[in-house]
């Protein structure tokens, strides 16, 4: 069987399976069956062995740990305390509650590596509250979904850990590379809220007193130490990425059960169950995507594409635009982790020949994939935010498009200005600061 035939077969079966709404994880596995059955050199046990190899990874343990830490923060009152602090800082800006929504996402991103956890918690906290204050429903959903994507761009990030593991790129450097784009995107989102608030006359709170600011800051300090533990512990070389996730869980447990006493054994059991099931859904999809990716590599399909692209002799900028475009398109249809495994591995050899630095490749891809979390049909943050208030995705698309447009300029800047966006990552190595 030729590479072209196998690629057409696998992508054809995958497309049909997705169209008839077979879950993505199973669709990926089913698409692998025809070549495994037809090729006498292979057999179906490849599915089990490749999935096992993907799962049998110490690094992947960071996924349930980060989700657990985020869920404990939400259940344990940590998010509420951060909310009050955020309100005292930006509550006086036009579109107050929406501004708080964005800034809380930035803070949450420093603790959680999961955008879907952020979208789930903020949707409950903000959407109905914003609508009650007179904000439009579609705007409220859109800004909640859009701000949630910051969780995978600002460190720590599940996507960066997976990226680091798959492509052997320094997770410390990826973490540092996410800081500037994350803060820039947060700033852009605040400007978007400002513009909407001015045009639609959304409400503005009174400015908090300095005393109120100091009081909420003091209360938020224990919660704000979590990013220090996760990111600081990793950057200083105290913990591995996985261990820093476990330490964040222990700290969140301490705050939620001992310090704030808002989580009892019953709530803890619920949080553990939710975390286990949700992490398993994402990681199971990663397993079947790994089989898909393994088969593409086995038939040398990436190399065929390399030959095709190499003929155009793309430089770093053109290649950066190709990476961003491909991940933006793929992000509409695939979850970010499978996309990294399937598409990232296809692009990597091409990127090597174009002269793009590995960390630059990583951050362009991760930001583009983060945008995929709000683009339909498979934008998880958008789906989670819409589901929280039972609104159809199609009703939110206009506002999502308006908000996404200026954010794309930040992605373009990341592609065009590598020296600016790689300044912070160049200060660190995998073992710590230089």
């Amino acid at each position: 069987m030729t590479a072209g035939f196998v690629a057409a077969l696998m992508f054809g079966v995958l497309f049909v399976a997705l169209v008839v709404r077979i879950p993505v994880a199973f669709a990926l596995a089913i698409a692998c069956v025809p070549p495994l059955v037809l090729d006498p050199r292979l057999d179906l046990t490849v599915i089990v062995s490749t999935m096992f190899t993907a799962f049998n990874s110490f690094l992947l343990l960071a996924v349930p740990f980060f989700l657990l830490a985020a869920n404990l923060m939400n259940t344990g009152g940590i998010t509420d305390r951060l909310f009050n602090w955020t309100r005292s800082m930006v509550g006086h800006l036009p579109g107050s509650l929406a501004q708080i929504n964005v800034v809380l996402s930035v803070l949450f991103a420093g603790v959680s590596g999961s955008s879907t956890a952020d979208a789930a918690s903020q949707a409950k906290l903000f959407i109905n509250a914003q609508v009650k204050e007179g904000y439009d429903m579609s705007f409220s959903i859109a800004i909640t979904a859009v701000s949630a994507i910051l969780a995978v761009i600002i460190p720590p990030s599940i996507l960066m850990i997976v990226w680091g593991g798959v492509f052997n790129t320094s997770i410390n450097q990826l973490y540092m590379a996410g800081v500037l784009p994350g803060l820039l995107l947060g700033g852009v989102q605040m400007l978007i809220v400002y513009a909407y608030a001015k045009l639609r006359h959304y409400p503005t709170y009174e400015r908090a007193t300095f005393r109120e600011f100091l009081r909420t800051t003091a209360i938020a300090i224990p919660a704000m130490m979590t990013p220090g533990i996760i990111v600081g512990g990793k950057l200083l070389g105290w913990f591995t990425a996985t261990e820093s996730g476990a330490m964040a869980v222990l700290y969140a447990l301490f705050l939620a059960m001992v310090a704030y006493r808002e989580v009892g054994w019953k709530e803890l059991k619920h949080v553990l169950f939710e975390t286990g099931t949700f992490s398993a859904i994402s990681l199971f999809c990663l397993g079947t995507a790994s089989v898909f990716g393994w088969l593409l590599a086995y038939y040398k399909i990436p190399q065929a594409l390399v030959g095709f692209i190499a003929a155009y002799n793309l430089g770093p900028v053109a290649m950066g635009l190709v990476i961003a475009g491909v991940f933006l398109a793929v992000g509409c249809f695939l979850d970010a982790i499978p996309a990294i495994i399937i598409v990232g591995t296809v692009l990597e050899p091409m990127v090597k020949t174009s002269g793009i630095e590995p960390v630059h490749f990583g951050i362009i891809s991760i930001v583009a994939l983060a945008f995929g979390l709000i683009t339909p049909p498979y934008g998880l943050c958008l789906l989670v935010s819409c589901a929280a208030v039972n609104v159809k995705v199609v009703n939110v698309l206009r506002d999502i498009t308006i908000m996404l447009a200026p954010m794309l300029l930040v992605l373009l800047a990341i592609v065009l200005l590598p020296d600016v966006f790689l300044y912070l990552p160049r200060l660190v190595t995998e073992s710590g600061f230089k």
Binding site: N56, L61, P64, G276, L283
Partner: protein, 160 residues
């Protein structure tokens, strides 16, 4: 049978809750042993963590089948009639069940063949890890079977 399925589902939920909690232990022990003299550096901690992770993923994937929690893509509009919606659900469940059946078969053989293999650090039988795959596949089939029977009944009841 219904009672058994409900009991099995509850048991799986209890096990995954315990597994997620247990995941913390080996990783925490690693950190404690590195920075204190309270415990020696145990080599089994990393392998235990990976073992629990494999089981957590496969059990969670099984639970998600009953909860219909696996993500799908909404490319086509929903069928307008109730029968159409049930038919679409049945088609998906049958396709996943067919894959589940094949997966159960191959993963059971794979686990059986690995019964003499042992892990590098603890020398635990690798079959204990691989058996998570057929156990999970059997769970998919059980829960999909329940959903298919429900859908067939609903399909028959909604006859025009």
């Amino acid at each position: 049978m219904r009672k058994f399925i409900a009991f099995y589902f509850k048991a799986l939920c209890a096990v995954i809750t315990a597994v997620v909690g247990a995941l913390l232990l080996p990783v925490t022990l690693q950190v404690v042993s590195r920075y204190t003299d309270l415990i020696p550096t145990w080599m089994w901690t990393e392998e235990a963590a990976r073992f629990l992770l494999v089981w957590m993923i496969m059990l969670g994937a099984t639970i998600a089948v009953r909860l219909r929690g696996h993500f799908d893509i909404d490319l086509l509009p929903e069928p307008k009639t109730r029968r159409g919606r049930i038919f679409a659900r049945l088609a998906v469940d049958l396709a996943v069940a067919a894959f589940g059946l094949a997966f159960l078969w191959i993963s059971a053989i794979y686990a059986f063949d690995a019964r003499t293999e042992v892990s590098e650090i603890t020398e635990m039988s690798m079959a204990l890890m691989y058996v998570a795959f057929p156990v999970s596949a059997a769970g998919w089939l059980l829960f999909l079977g329940e959903q298919i029977v429900d859908d067939l009944r609903e399909f028959a009841r909604s006859a025009p």
